[in-house]
Amino acid sequence: MKKLITFTLNGYEVSAEVESHRMLLEVLRDTFDFKGTKPGCGQGECGACTVLVDDVNVDSCLYPAFEIEGKSVTTIEGLIDEGNKLHPVQESFVAHGGIQCGFCSPGMIMSATALLRENPSPSDGEIKAGISGNLCRCTGYVQIVESIRDAAERLQENAG
C-alpha cells in the first residue's frame, strides 16, 4: 500500500508517496537524499539514525514513515545555519574531539541537541543518560561528554 505523506523536513513542507512498510530512515535517505542520518543497525539498537520528531529524539529506523504525517522532522543537515555554519552542538563536537570515525556523530549530536533543549545545564550523569541510546566504538564517550558539556555552555551564552 502506498500513501502520500506530508510533513515538515528541516523547515520546509515536503510530500512523498511512500509504501506502508517504509521507515522514516529510508524516506529521509532514499526519497529526500538526506544521507547524514546513518543506518547503523536497522533495529533501534545503536542510535546512529537518530533524528528529531517534533523536537524529540527518535530512532528513525523504527519510526514508520506513515506516522510522520503532519509532524516536523529535523535531521543533522537541518542543524546547519545559513552560510554553512555549524550548530553550537556540532561546533562543540568538532572542538572537543567528540568525533572520530564520525558514523555515530549525527545521531549522537541529535540526541545531545534534544537533551540540551530539555535540560540546558545537565550533569555528566544526565548527559550520559541522554546519549545512552547512541553507541560509539571509537571515543569511549569521554570527549563526547566533554563536547556536550561545552555545547551546554555555548547554547547558554547564545541565549544570554
Binding site: 538526506f34 546513518k38 564520525g102 571509537c138 569511549g140 570527549q143
Partner: protein
Amino acid sequence: MTTKYSFIGTEAPRPDAPDKAAGKAVYIHDLVRPGMLFGKIKYSECAHARISHIDTSRAEKLPGVRAVLTGDNSPQVRYGFIKDNFVFKRDKVRQYRDEVAAVAATDPDIAAEAVDLIRVDYEEIPAVFDPEEALQGGAPLIHETDGRGKPKKDNLVPVPWRFVSGDVEKAKQESAYVAEDAFETQLIQQSCMGTAGCIAEFDLQSNLIMHTKTQIPFLAQNDFNQALSAMGLKGKNSRVIVPTLGGSFGTGLDTHGYEFIAILLAYKTGRPVKIVLDREEEFITLSPRQPTRSRILQGCDKDGKLTFREIHMILDNGAYTSWGATTPSVMMLPISSIYRVPNVLYDTKIVYTNNTYCQAMRGYGNPQAAWALEGNLDHLAEEAGIDPYEFRMTNRNIPNDLTPMGLNITSCGHKECLESVAEKLRWKETRGQGRSAVDGKVRGVGMASLFHVGGSGRVYRSDGSGVIMKLDDFGNVSVIAGGVEMGQGFDAALSLASAEALGVTPDKVKVVTGDTATCPWDVGTHASRGAFTSCNAAIMAARKAREKVFQLAAEHFMPRIQFKEKRKQKKDPDYRMPDLDFERMLKPSDFDMRENVVFLKDDPEAPLLHLRLEEILREAHYKEQGTMIVTEAFYDPCNQMLDMKTCRGNLSATYIFGVQGAEVEVDLETGKVRILRFAAAHDVGQVLNRQTIRGQIYGGVMTGIGYALCEEYKTDRGKNLNPNFLDYKILSAPDVDFPIDVDCIETHDEEGPFGAKGVGEPGLVPTAPAIANAVYDAIGVRIHSLPITPEKVLAALRGEKV
C-alpha cells in the same frame, strides 16, 4: 620540549570533524553510482556439509533480478592469506557464513527476496568446533587439500610459530618460584558503527573501479588484480577508492568474500554493484578476534627476577585463513620481550574448525598474550611474596636493550608508566586493603603492562608509506598519502606534522588519501603505523619541498622585495626605501620558512624581508619556462622481517610501552565488577595531536573494558547466537561512570616523526588483565577466562575454576 614546535603537541581539532559533524562525510552507505545494482549474498545454512544441489531458477525469474551467480556459473576465484578460501563454495561448506550464491537486482528488496528464493540442498557431514578436538586423530577434516591441492592430514593451519631462547628447562629447575596457569580468551567482534560494504564497477577497458571499506587499499588492489586474472582479465587493473570509514579496527585488513562477489556481479551485469552488509550480516559474516587457550609458566629467582617464561597456545582459526594467522608474530613480541627475561619458549598451534574464521582486530593478538602474561605474572609475584607493582618494577624494560627475540629497544618509558599508574591508583595505600566487605562489596587495585610495535611492523616485504606534497599558487599544500583515515586521527596527525615540517599553518594543509590511482603506495594502515610512517614520509617530502622553496627564494626573493618596495615608493613619493643588504638573499641556505612566511634565517624579525610562500610560488610559476613544486618521499622504516625459522628479527623501528591500572569494586552477592577508577599511562614518544591521542587511548580503554567484562561473540555449534547490539553488549555512555586518567609519557624516540611512536592499538592491550588483577586483589580468586562475567565471579567465589 613541546615549545620548540608551532603545532606538534597542540589540541588542534581534526580536519575531518566538521564534515562528519554536519553529516556530509560520504560513507559507503551513502555512495551512489549511476545505474547501480544491489547485490545480496546467500550464505550456508550448515556448519559443515556437502552441497548436493543449488536451484536458482525461481530467483532468476524474479522481475528486477539481473544476475544470479553460484560456483557453477562463475570463475573460480581464490582468496585469503594462504588462498584456502573460494569466492563461491562448490563442493562443500565449512562454516555458517560460507557464500554459496549471490544476486544482483535493481532494488535491495528484490535482491533480498531473490536470495530467499534460492534453494540449496546439503548433505551434512560431521563437524568440529573445539580446536583441541580438531587436533585429535579422526577429527573431521575441514580442508581435505591445502591451497596448492596437496592432501591434508590434519586440521593444522600450515603457519607454525615457535620461538625458543636460552634453556627454559634448566631455568625452570633453578627458579626459586614458578607459577603455572591456564588462560582463555573469547571471540569478540570489532563492532564498527559503520558496517562494511563496497561498490564494484568496470570501465570499458575492463579495468575495475572498487569503492570499498579497507585499511589496505594497495594490498587490496593486488588481491583484486589476482581475482581479475582468475576471471580471464589478466593484465587489467583495479583502482581502489576508499570512502569515509565508519571505524575499521582490523576488519579492513583482509579482502572479503563480499568484495569479490560484487566484482563478479559487476562484471557479469556490466553495471556498478553495491553490497553493504546489514548489522546481522556484519556480525555473522565478518571475522572476529581469535579465541585462544594458553598454558603459561613463569619463574623467578629469590629476589623476584624473572628466570624463564613458557607459553603454549592454541588459536581457533575457524574454517579459513586470514592475515589473522600472523597474530602470533605480534603475540611473540610481549611473550619474548616484555619485562626482561632470558629464557623463553613459545609455541602456537593455529587450528581449523567449523567455526567462523577469525581475523585481525585492534591489538593483533597482543590482548590475548597480555591476558595470559600479566595474570600469571601477578600469580608469580604472589608466589614470591613480592608486591606486583614492585615485581614489575624489578623486571621492567629499560632503554637501549636488545631482547632475546632481537628486538632493539631504544626509547622506553616503562618505568615512568609504572610509576604514573601506581601514583594515580594510590597503590601503596590501596593494594590489598579492600578485602573486608563493606555493604557486601570488596575493593581491589590491579595493573598490567603492554609492549607493542611503535615504529610500524614489517609483516610484509615492504613496510613503506609514500607521501606526495603538492604546493599550489595559493600556498596550499596537498599532502597525498597512501594511508587510511578510519577514525583514528590519521589526517589530524599528518596535517600537523606536515605543517610543522614544511613551515606552513595546518589550515593550508589538505590531506588527500584513499585512491590507489592517485596516492603513493602504502602497505596499509595497521600495526599502529599510520602516523609513524606517513609523518616520517611527510617530513622527508617537506625537506625536499623546503629545499625547492629556498632555491626559488634565492632567485625571486630579492627582485620581489625590490618590486614591492618600488611599488610603495610609487604610491607614496615620500617613502624612503631602507638600505637593504641584498647580498644576504642570494643563497638557498640564507632562508627559512615558518607559518607560510619565507624570511632570512639570520634576520627573522626584519619585517620588510618577509615574503609569503604563495608569492614566491607564483613568481616561479607565472613566467616563461616557469616551475611548480611537487615533492615525494617513500619512508620504509629501519626494521626487519622475522626470520621464519628462528622467529628473530627487529620487527619494528621502535617499541611502545604502557601500563594500565584499575580500582574495582566487586559485589559479593551479585558478582558484578564495577570500575571505580582507571589509569592509563602510555609511552607515546611524543604527542603529535593532544586531542586525538587522548581519544585514541580513551577509545582503546573502553573496548578493552568491554573485552574484560561483557563482550562475547556467542556460538552454538558454529552458529552465532548474538548478531546484534542487544545481545552483543558493547559499552554505552552510562557504563563509563568512573574517572579515567590518561598520562602520555614522552620519551622522544629518535626514529619517530618529531619523536612520536605509534599509539593506535595499545589502548586496549593490557586493560583486561589490569581489571582481572584488581578483581583478584578484591576477592582473592583469579579469573582465568574472559569475559569476567558476574556468573564467573560468583563461581570463582564458590571455589570453582573459571
